[in-house]
């Protein structure tokens, strides 16, 4: 008999706030976390707004913040979200003698996490001084001299995308299976899926899983702007993320961390912790199509959803709520709609399918985990979060996207979709926990 896997803790640091209750309250009220970018001077950028985490101070979560002071934004978000999630799940942190009943080599970590920002002023400064625009050459000797003098070693180390995991390891003393993956916008859904598989196999009892990422830095912003992936609705940031609307013009870059504690049912029962929901299915596929576009017929997306349904041993008819990837790009929203129609057939228009990116923006590596948290809350609270800013429906997109207002509904099974650049497709299915 394979282990059942349950969720016993959640934590979030995101543009709508940094407690589960406050974030959920705002989602139910349909509030937007999007505003002018303040982390760096983006005033002249073609997209000058984003979904930032505001006034964040990770030190309030920790007894020993000095071990983590050099952490990049993603690492610091991860620490706050992990501290919240561990508290809820009764996992001891910052102690060499935990008394939470979890052997440390049975406690693992799996995050979808992204790179840390460059030390921008220093980074650009070294190039300004060493680049010869006439010859098109860099003077590497000069560059290295300045780089050695100005770059801070730990800031450079923190650009590695495994660092959020590293900080959580130090925070919790976890010695079990530990990985960090980066499959673009699908990373944290993949992390949660693979973490589930690790427990199901019996290789860990508890996994700290989810995602952490901030691409709101000059080069990240530049990259997405050049791909024309971002909304440029500078005159109205709060309405810019409008998934499934005819006037959608791209996603809004966000940042944050979302952590879920995944645990074998037997461990959760032994420890007597509250069970929030059960993870019943995971599916993963790749488009193998183009690096720039999704497969036109949504081949990979369909395959991943079907794989997750098969893994969960349920029919498409059993799904009560679909938490879409819903980025607000022309391409994603129409191809995702195609995928839902192909899999859910006659049920497609009946199953509510909303996008919380309309409020949160796109947390990239952390997106899927934040969205899965909204699915857990939809189940426990009986409320489906809305797709806000959906006032001008796209006639081609005719599913029930839960426009503009949250809705009361009994949700027993929720399915969360994440699709990433390069054709990465990951889907996780959760269920209201019942003994049998």
């Amino acid at each position: 008999m394979t282990e059942r896997i349950v969720i016993t803790g959640m934590g979030i640091v995101c543009p709508l706030g940094e407690t589960i209750d406050s974030v959920w309250g705002k989602m139910k009220a349909g509030e937007s976390g999007i505003a002018k970018t303040t982390i760096f001077d983006a005033s002249t950028f073609p997209a000058n707004f984003s979904a930032e985490v505001k006034n964040y101070d990770f030190t309030k979560y920790l007894k020993n913040p000095e071990h983590h002071k050099h952490g990049n934004r993603g690492s610091q978000f991860a620490l706050g979200a992990a501290a919240q999630a561990c508290r809820q799940a009764g996992i001891d942190i910052e102690t060499e003698k935990p008394s939470d009943g979890i052997a440390r080599d049975r406690l693992g970590i799996y995050l979808g996490a992204g790179e840390g920002s460059a030390d921008n002023e220093v980074f650009f400064g070294t190039i300004v001084n060493a680049w010869n625009d006439q010859t098109g050459e860099m003077n590497w000797g000069k560059w290295s001299e300045e780089a050695l003098a100005t770059m801070k070693p730990m800031h450079e180390l923190e650009q590695e995308s495994n660092m959020p995991v590293t900080h959580i390891a130090l925070l919790t003393g976890a010695r079990g299976p530990t990985r960090s993956c980066l499959t673009a916008c699908a990373a944290s859904t993949q992390a949660i899926g693979e973490a589930t598989m690790i427990i199901r196999r019996g290789d860990a009892d508890v996994m700290i899983s989810g995602g952490a990422h901030s691409m709101i830095h000059p080069l990240g912003m530049t990259g997405f702007i050049r791909l024309t992936a971002l909304s440029t609705r500078n005159d109205s940031p709060q309405t810019a993320s409008r998934p499934f609307s005819i006037s959608r013009d791209g996603f809004v870059l966000g940042e944050g961390a979302a952590i879920l504690i995944l645990e074998s049912l037997s461990s959760a029962k032994k420890r007597g912790v509250k069970i929030l929901a059960e993870v019943i299915g995971y599916g993963s596929s790749s488009d193998a199509f183009r690096v720039t576009d999704m497969h036109e017929e949504a081949r990979g997306a369909i395959q991943a959803i079907q794989a997750a349904l098969t893994d969960a041993k349920i029919s498409y008819k059993d799904v009560d709520y679909i938490n879409t990837h819903g980025t607000s790009t022309t391409e994603n929203d129409s191809i995702e709609t195609k995928a839902i129609k192909a899999v859910f057939k006659e049920m497609a228009k009946k199953i509510p399918a909303s996008s919380v990116k309309s409020m949160l923006g796109h947390l990239i590596g952390a997106a899927g985990a934040a969205e899965l948290i909204s699915c857990v809350l939809a189940i426990s609270d009986g409320i489906i979060p809305p797709t806000i800013n959906l006032h001008e429906p796209d006639p081609q997109l005719d599913l029930d996207y839960v426009p503009n207002e949250a809705r009361k509904a009994q949700v027993n099974i929720a399915l969360s979709e994440s699709f990433g650049f390069g054709g990465q497709n990951n889907v996780v299915i959760i269920k209201r926990f019942e003994e049998n």
């Binding site: 625009d133 290295s144 590293t166 993963s284 650049f421």
Partner: protein, 442 residues
């Protein structure tokens, strides 16, 4: 139903010792060193002068016509990975879309890919012209960048540097439609990816998985980071081939490099049914965490690595006495090497000092996310050839580094090999590879 066994049925490598797995092995077996002076960029006044560089190659030769336009979207890490993947698929006898689209012999939905990748740093000269447009009074000006600078960045620039693009390009070329993951745990990434790919096959989500890792560290910003973290050798007082000295008393830091290693993992019965050559079996994988507030180093007793080694042995259902060879991570960074020795000794007990131990980075350099994959390929070749090559640059062992490392090659029947890795930061990983004995479960 018993747990499926996982076979290795294909190998591919682009390494500082050559453009194929065989060239790498021949180089290793004959004691060659792939570390030279840096050729990739002008190094006058640059703090480190040596690197492990892959010989010149044309990325186009690894890419079918249908995907050739995309070569310009491939940074060097991707090019290396694509090259190694082609050799791995070819050596497996599988015919994918990328090998011959008229004779495909594998269901694309039953193939998975799982690669280790590094953080891919942008090419600074590529940003030079855009940054030059964004200067006021000799200083970088973000407002100018937002208006004029970013316009000078090529539109698809970001896609070149996303770590998952290694797996995505390979997936497109070979039409891999099953699960795809990219592990970004620096120097432990390839071992972790290979371990996870093995599990994907064991849970029957794929029959075949391409796995391994690639990274191009011969990039000024990557090299400078290693200097800043005091991991790179910056004393250039020896010839390049003597610079990287794992476990040696004269070790003064590691030498970084580039490479790609891709292996084909396959469910054993699937491999037997199609008459594939079985190079070896993946018998066990273990992983854990280093817990150390000094982030750039292993904890002194490397407990995280001990745990990983013990788990890998347990999964392979063997005892330390069964091991015939250890390929350690062995970087040539004295404190890390010493901690790794302690981990091996604590995990394996008294047997540790008897098992032949062969560090490869003295010849291959530290190739980041590729390293673990190159070591697995070296281990498979050692098993196949029944030979442990001479260890290089370990002439006088550093105090405390009592392992069985010798400068003489040995002929030996090798049944089990242990490969170890860890990253600065925290993740640790170990794999156990087993010689294929021709027997199946039933």
């Amino acid at each position: 139903m018993s747990m499926p066994r996982v076979a290795i049925t294909g190998l591919g490598a682009l390494s500082p010792l050559g453009l194929t797995a065989k060239e790498m092995w021949d180089g290793l077996a004959s004691g060659k060193c792939g570390i030279t002076s840096i050729k990739a960029f002008e190094t006058t006044n640059f703090p480190c002068q040596y690197a492990g560089q892959v010989p010149e190659f044309k990325p186009q030769q690894y890419v079918p016509k249908s995907h050739r336009k995309a070569v310009k979207l491939m940074c060097r890490d991707i090019q290396l990975a694509v090259g190694a993947a082609k050799e791995a698929v070819q050596s497996s006898g599988l015919i994918t879309k990328g090998i011959d689209e008229n004779n495909i012999n594998i269901d694309p939905t039953r193939m998975a890919i799982n690669l280790g990748a590094g953080i891919i740093s942008c090419e600074l000269p590529e940003l030079g012209p855009a940054i030059a447009k964004s200067v006021t009074d000799g200083k970088f000006d973000m407002r100018k960048w937002g208006k004029e600078g970013l316009e000078a960045v090529t539109p698809l620039w970001l896609l070149k540097f996303l770590p998952n693009m290694l797996a995505c390009h390979i997936g497109i070329i070979h039409d891999i439609q099953g699960p795809s993951n990219t592990i970004t745990c620096a120097e432990a990434a390839a071992h972790l990816a290979i371990g996870e790919a093995g599990k994907v096959i064991q849970r029957r989500w794929a029959d075949v998985a391409l796995t391994g890792g690639a990274e191009a560290k011969v990039n000024p910003i990557v090299m400078i980071r290693q200097c800043l973290l005091k991991r790179a050798r910056t004393e250039n007082d020896t010839p390049p081939e003597s610079a990287c000295r794992p476990f040696d008393a004269d070790a003064k830091g590691s030498v970084f490099g580039e490479g790609a290693g891709v292996i084909v993992l396959e469910e054993l019965e699937h491999a037997k049914k199609r008459g594939a050559k079985i190079y070896a079996e993946l018998a066990g994988a273990g992983e854990s965490n280093n817990i150390n507030p000094v982030y750039e180093q292993l904890e002194p007793d490397a407990k995280g690595l001990q745990i990983a080694i013990k788990k890998a042995l347990a999964e392979a259902q063997i005892t330390p006495e069964d091991l015939d060879l250890i390929i350690p991570h062995g970087l040539g960074i004295p404190a890390d090497d010493l901690a790794e020795v302690r981990a091996i000794q604590n995990a394996l007990g008294q047997t540790a000092v008897k098992i032949p131990t062969w560090p490869t980075k003295s010849m291959l350099s530290a190739t980041g996310a590729a390293g673990g994959a190159l070591d697995v390929i070296a281990a498979v070749c050692a098993m196949t050839e029944g030979k442990i090559p001479a260890a290089r640059n370990c002439e006088k062992k550093a105090a405390g580094c009592e392992l069985n490392i010798t400068g003489e090659p040995q002929q030996k029947d090798i049944r089990y090999v242990l490969c170890c890795s860890y990253t600065y930061g925290s993740q640790t990983a170990a794999l156990v590879l087993k010689k294929f004995d021709g027997k199946t479960n039933d």
